[in-house]
């Protein structure tokens, strides 16, 4: 870039040279974002390539090898049934992230839909937001437990429960941005050019609400991975032989004195994921927010 800048021809003054991906550049200069990306990247890689990374079936019981501490033979040690902790934690990463991702997708769809409707069509606002408030009145985990208890345990139901619990928060954020954007002069200008409500909402309002939504969804991802661990710790997530971080910790807690690695390792994996996602979210917020305020 430096040598190119020196050789910039004069015409470039009229039309300044396009810098590609300015947001990405700023993200790459944000140190905490990079740390977050590294932490989450490790977990994501483990989840994506789980089947290549594990040699031993996570559910293969080998009583002979129970309670082996982490070492060269068993990287993360073994649990009370002699199952490979490495296999279980890596496989657990796959399920945890899949559930987190599922929650984020449902959340994005319904949160955006409800928030956009409430923010844009003021007559719907009161009805929709009071329902959202009712949901938000419950503590997150309690409500999630209630919904999974009603639907029955299982990972699909955990996704539904967590999506239902977190959607009101996303809806609030989207509504708040829509309320700001709908008053902008370019929305009035779009109306004056004959755009319909649907067109204005989809093409003019929502794209301008993306920044806070992306940041919010990053945090929702972190919360839902954590909450899913809580649900499966309580036996409301995926059914036991399937490894999830929550039920590994739940099983290992009985042996926490003799074999602390059983609980510690999935616990660390969980902490790493949540910390990584939070740092990513902070970085995105720092980089995306000033763009909203200062249009250069």
């Amino acid at each position: 870039m430096a040598s190119e800048a020196l050789a910039t021809p004069l015409e470039a003054v009229a039309v300044p040279p396009k810098r590609r991906f300015p947001t990405l550049r700023r993200l790459l200069r944000h140190k905490l974002f990079l740390v977050g990306a590294l932490l989450f990247g490790i977990v994501l890689t483990a989840a994506l390539f789980a089947d290549l990374l594990i040699q031993v079936d996570p559910n293969r019981i080998s009583i002979r090898n129970k309670f082996r501490p982490p070492g060269s033979e068993w990287i993360f040690g073994t649990d009370n049934f002699g199952r490979s902790q490495w296999s279980r934690v890596v496989k657990g990463a796959q399920l945890s992230l899949a559930i987190g991702f599922g929650v984020v997708v449902l959340n994005a769809v319904f949160g955006t839909l409800l928030g956009a409707l409430a923010g844009y069509f003021r007559t719907l606002d009161n009805v929709l937001m009071r329902i959202m408030d009712a949901f938000m009145a419950f503590p997150v985990i309690l409500l999630a437990i209630g919904i999974t208890a009603a639907l029955g345990p299982g990972s699909i139901n955990a996704v539904i429960a967590l999506a239902a619990v977190y959607t009101p928060r996303t809806a609030r954020i989207v509504r708040a941005s829509v309320l700001v954007v709908r008053e902008q002069a370019y929305i009035e200008a779009a109306r004056a050019m004959g755009a319909s409500h649907a067109r204005i909402l989809l093409r003019h309002v929502l794209p301008n609400c993306m920044a806070p939504l992306i940041v919010q969804l990053t945090f929702i991802f972190a919360y839902s991975v954590l909450s899913e661990a809580v649900l499966s710790f309580l036996g409301l997530g995926a059914e036991p032989p399937t490894p999830t971080w929550g039920n590994i910790i739940a099983e290992g807690r009985l042996y926490i004195r003799e074999a602390p690695w059983i609980t510690l390792i999935p616990g660390l994996a969980l902490a790493m994921t949540v910390l990584g996602l939070n740092l990513l979210g902070d970085g995105l917020r720092d980089v995306l927010d000033p763009r909203l305020k200062v249009q250069q």
Partner: protein
Amino acid sequence: MSARERDPILSVRGLTTELRTESSRFHAVDAVSFDLFPGEVLGIVGESGCGKSMTALSILGLVPRPPGRIVAGEVWFEGRDLVRASERELQRVRGAKIAMIFQEPMSSLNPVFTIGEQIAETLRHHERLGRRAARERAVELLAKVGIPSPAERLDSYPHELSGGMRQRVMIAIALACNPKVLLADEPTTALDVTIQAQILDLLQRLQAELGMAVVIITHDLGIVAEFAHRVLVMYAGRVIEEGAVEAIFESPAHPYTRGLLASLPDLEGEIGRLSAIPGSVPQMGALGPGCRFAPRCGLVEPACLAADPPLARTGARAVACRRAALAAAPRERVA
């Protein structure tokens, strides 16, 4: 009425728009009537809050609701009353037949799309042009509004352009579908003086070239003098004086118009304090039964406070003042 042979392209009759706030409700636009003829430039002048922008928004059915609502009147355009037209019909008129440009060029463009996309959007929407055809038209339009290297500029984002450039882009968008009527709401207010002149020249040139009718809303009498053929002076939601530009500037009939003209700096006379109209625009929610300008008028008499004078028409001129004849007397001072 007047000696014009042609029929008006836009005919506003008794347009009344109500604004409702928690504590009061009032007519922001009160029984406004005027005709706009093809190829004509009509200036609407008045102080801030006199209802001039609201009039333009009402014509296109763009009054934000709540708090606003058109409660009476008709807006005739191409044999249809726009006040009674459905939202769908209005959407087909807006941008295609009647376009509007706004005061804030800095924020009237969507920050997340390139200007090319925004110009093309209007064309694709109203004229059903394909992607490529729309892009080609967009380049032509940018060239027409005087943007240098239009083909490269097409991919610029609004924040990469200056205020004057953005207003040019807004004009390009407004003209995209060759509208018959352009409503320009203070198109130069937010710009530097030199840029103002450029934009005004551009509008004037394009108006002559395309032969469209323009309603220019401004508080700047200079713009009206230079650009408009006919003027509508508004005060507190009402039209108080109407006439050809020369006639109004030469012999303003309404004391308010006289005050407005007197407050302009005079380059030839001796240097002195600029005269101002005493007082300020009345609280719209608390209007008395009389003439709305009476509290600030130097020629007020008891009868003025009893009833609001109607707009009385004589030939091409119209004025709403009981004392109009007196006010028009050449040596009379408005104190």
